[in-house]
């Protein structure tokens, strides 16, 4: 196989892509960018897009490009609209409506009054700054130094009367020092020039102010180069706090490229990793790089990806397959959906490199049917990749041929388990089977099969381009790189955050997620979905990596992170998850099928106030038995939510049992509604809504609830406008 000239061919391709983009005015037109993803659309993005389209057409302007992109993962502020005027700080607006779109268009895009300041994303600013300096955060090399310098800088700016024109911010460690091979902190990223300054001393600050801020001349002696594949995300979004506390390696293109445009993907170095690998690498060197990078599977198990690739490569077989696991069954997780909708090509490139390594001719993406838009985008991406010769025969003239087929799941959580997934692709019932043999030895139709999660694959091009050493510089001893978490529940900023491994739960919840909604009290964070556990407040300083979370009694899992507050009952949550796994148990083995049922019955009793203390021992005994005796991961982890809440929130169980009380007022059967005679004005509203008519009282007289008949539906509580009904 002649591998010379592959990269050259790639760059020729890229030149064609660039010239097409140039023709569209991609580089010099004013860009209005509207998010387009399941979540964006549910928030009304399509109407906003149509509104802009109408206004642009009506204005007759041809120098404006209306651009679609995937979602940035900032769910709570969607729809998000970006206005990118060449040479200006990119402006992002949040929670845009058709009405707001009109305002953005008339005053910011058409008019000369600048951005509509009070609609800017996150409303953290009341003006547009001349410059923004985002200092690196707490990396391994620079503890505190950046913060100190930033404070001095701010003071100097204030003294010179520039305090309100220049913004100082702090972000996450972007791995700048690791890139340079030597510490360069204090360092910062500067908008709108999008450059990095490093090794900044206090004595340099005046020069930065005189030259950079006042005269708009860069201080070139402080400039450090930082050429990483994910930089462009920071270029677009680095000025928004929600994003500059993240390191976007796998989500780098989400919210930047049009997921339906292969040209844009290529512009941001798409398929360069594959071309490079085809030209320079052998299976052994690729595996070596993956091993060096320390990448571990992001699908939940955390198995070292390099080992998996090597095992499949070494396995004997004429035919081999690579499978992308996009089943994303954890209820409460949506990282993979966002990635597939916002950047489908990265997954294809990851599979292409994986396929090349094990010499597979064919790859499958197993995706859940509940993700219709992700399916559509993937189908489109596969078609385009074929057209452009990145899939199909003799890719880039390398002699390697590879193609990808989609297979849809049909709504069974257990099919995320790799052996069940294989059966499902084969068209059978999705039942797991004992391992070994592992799929890497005997998978699809008995052939060696390499199964990787979506996010795992999205890391592959990053490792190949930015180098395994650099990748391994991020994270902790045994967990390298970043992890995407899906923040949901009682948190202010719901959405996706990608942070370096080793970030604390506290930072993720309070810094990235903006803390608990409605100023309620934090109670627990649930990680790992139905296989994971709940961690209480005293574990907030736990860092996220595979080992620490396991030690704390939960797991990393695939990245779902549900935040619970004082209104959530931990027994109820445990019951919720067990109900889920019980329902999803495939029924093949008894401990899981029967055991989870028995545990669920006990939990049901406890939430009804009929539990005994003996039940707690039973739960623990049963739980540990199911963990040991079940055939597959579903059963082996199903008791975790129960066991972890028993460990960390035992008091709450006891309260349900001994005092027949649910402290969070969640468990319906233990609730009691009472009318407070001092507050009731006798408006009769409650009596009219009560479905069982158990509230008595005549107009303008105090009402009363017949506790015997009350079914605890809470309708009266919701209805009373005088706050006269107490929930006890």
């Amino acid at each position: 196989m002649n591998t010379k000239g592959i990269l050259q061919r790639y760059f020729e391709f890229k030149e064609q892509s660039l010239s097409r983009l140039r023709q569209q005015g991609y580089f010099d037109r004013c860009k209005i960018q509207v998010g387009s993803a399941t979540c964006e659309n549910a928030s009304g993005a399509e109407a906003v897009y149509r509104e802009f389209d109408k206004m642009i057409k009506a204005s007759g302007r041809t120098d404006i490009l209306l651009h679609k992109t995937g979602c940035t993962g900032h769910c709570s502020s969607e729809p998000i609209v970006g206005v990118f005027k060449p040479g200006e700080i990119p402006v992002k607006y949040g929670e845009v409506t058709a009405q707001k779109a009109f305002e953005i268009f008339t005053s910011h895009v058409q008019g000369h009054s600048g951005p509509v300041v009070d609609m800017i994303l996150d409303k953290k600013t009341d003006r547009l700054y001349r410059n923004e300096f985002i200092f690196c955060g707490r990396g391994s090399q620079c503890e505190g130094a950046n913060d100190k310098l930033a404070a001095v800088f701010q003071e100097k700016l204030n003294q010179r009367g520039l305090g309100d024109q220049v913004k100082i911010g702090s972000g996450v460690c972007l791995g700048l020092c690791a890139e340079q091979g030597t510490p360069v902190s204090p360092a910062c990223f500067v908008f709108p020039e999008r450059i990095f300054y490093g090794n900044i001393q206090e004595s340099d600050l005046d020069e930065i102010i005189d030259s950079h801020i006042e005269k708009r001349q860069l201080v070139s002696r402080l400039e450090v180069s930082f050429d990483k594949i994910h930089n462009h995300f920071f270029d677009h979004y680095g000025d928004v706090e929600y994003f500059n506390h993240q390191l976007r390696l796998t989500l780098k293109n989400c919210g930047v490229i049009d997921p339906e445009s292969i040209d844009e993907y290529i512009y941001y170095r798409g398929f360069e990793a594959a071309a490079k690998v085809f030209e320079n690498d052998t299976a052994e060197t690729i595996i070596d790089k993956i091993l060096k990078s320390g990448l571990r599977g992001r699908g939940g198990g955390g198995y070292p990806t390099g080992f998996k690739w090597r095992n499949t490569y070494l396995a004997k077989g004429d035919e081999k397959f690579i499978v992308c696991n996009a089943d994303e069954g954890d209820p409460g997780a949506f990282m993979d959906r966002s990635m597939l909708e916002g950047d489908p090509f990265s997954i294809i490139e990851g599979m292409l490199i994986g396929g090349f390594t094990i010499n597979a001719k064919k790859g499958y993406i197993y995706i859940r049917a509940e993700y219709p838009l992700a399916i559509k985008r993937l189908e489109n991406a596969i078609t385009l990749a074929r057209e452009f010769g990145f899939l199909g025969d003799n890719i880039l003239g390398s002699g390697y041929s590879f193609d990808i087929e989609l297979r849809l799941g049909a709504g069974a959580f257990v099919c995320g388990e790799e052996t069940a997934l294989i059966h499902s692709i084969e068209g059978l019932r999705g039942m797991p089977r004992p391992r070994p043999p592992y799929p890497s030895v005997s998978g699809l139709w008995g052939c060696p099969t390499m199964i990787n999660n979506v996010e795992t694959l999205a890391n592959v091009p990053v490792i190949m381009l930015d180098g395994p050493q650099w990748f391994a510089s991020i994270g902790t001893q045994n967990s390298k790189g970043t992890k995407v978490f899906a923040l949901a529940g009682k948190i202010n900023q719901t959405g996706l955050v990608e942070v370096p491994m080793g970030t604390t739960l506290r930072d993720i919840i309070f810094k990235n997620g903006g803390g608990i909604k409605n100023n309620k009290k934090f109670k627990a964070v649930q990680t790992g979905g139905p296989s994971g556990g709940c961690l209480p407040e005293q574990f907030l300083d736990t860092i996220v990596d595979y080992d620490s979370l396991t030690q704390a009694g939960s797991i990393m899992g695939s990245g779902g992170m549900i935040v619970l507050d004082e209104d959530d009952c931990m027994v109820d949550i445990a019951k919720f998850f067990l109900d889920f796994t019980q329902n999803e148990s495939c029924g093949k083995c008894t401990p899981c099928r029967e055991g989870t049922m028995r545990m669920l019955e006990i939990l049901q009793r406890i939430t009804e106030g009929k539990g005994t203390m003996d039940d707690l021992t039973k739960l623990e005994r049963l739980g540990n038995l199911i963990k040991r005796a079940s055939l597959c991961g579903l059963g082996q982890t199903a008791p975790n939510p129960v066991l972890s809440t028993l460990r960390h929130f035992r008091d709450e169980y006891v309260e349900h049992i001994t005092n027949k009380r649910c402290p969070a007022h969640r468990c319906q059967n233990l609730l009691r509604y009472n009318i407070n005679p001092d507050k009731c004005v006798g408006c009769t509203a409650c009596a009219r809504v009560c479905p069982v008519r158990c509230i008595s009282g005549s107009p303008k007289k105090v009402h009363e609830i017949d506790q015997q008949k009350c079914i605890k539906c809470g309708m009266c509580y919701e209805t009373c406008k005088f706050d006269a009904i107490d929930k006890l």
Partner: protein
């Protein structure tokens, strides 16, 4: 709900063509789930006679076809309403009050989960996370997702579909 299951359907020529094209490929029996999905896309459920015809054409035992159809939650063996309302009861939606949204749908439509209204307009279903947890609680009707739904929104949503 027992009438239509006795109805006689035959596979459309398109589906037959699809099955034939599958049969050209390696491991063609693995396409069974895809075929069933397409049948359900057209009919809203899997009529028994069509499962039997599929078994015959694809060369898979009928028992296997039933086995698959009953294993996966997505397959319906009964006719469905014109619109399927999926109330997400995933974790994020659950803690954000999805149960109350579900109750509101139940009382407005006067049906329970997995039931269909008498006018065959709506089938009510519980879903396990549709992947927009950041906007919980969510409801997915056919392929459209509704965000941050409150019990008060429910009537408006239903009316919208009734009128269209």
């Amino acid at each position: 709900m027992d009438v239509s299951n006795k109805e006689k359907f035959t596979l459309s020529s398109e589906l037959i063509e699809y099955i034939d094209s599958c049969k050209q490929q390696a491991h063609f029996k693995s396409f069974l789930i895809n075929v069933l999905q397409r049948i359900q896309d057209i009919h809203g459920y899997l009529p028994q006679c069509l499962m039997e015809e599929t078994a015959l054409r694809l060369g898979v035992p009928t028992a296997k076809v039933y086995g698959v159809a009953t294993f996966y939650h997505m397959f319906r063996l009964e006719p469905q309403g014109k619109h399927t309302i999926n109330i997400c009861l995933g974790t994020a939606c659950y803690v954000k009050g999805a149960q109350r949204v579900l109750d509101a749908f139940k009382s407005h439509l006067n049906i329970d989960i997995d039931e269909t209204t008498e006018d065959l307009m709506f089938t009510l279903k519980a879903a396990r996370c549709v992947g927009t947890c950041g906007l919980a609680p969510v409801v997915m009707i056919d392929n459209d997702v509704y965000a941050k739904v409150t019990p008060e929104d429910v009537l408006t949503i239903i009316t919208k579909y009734r009128q269209s």
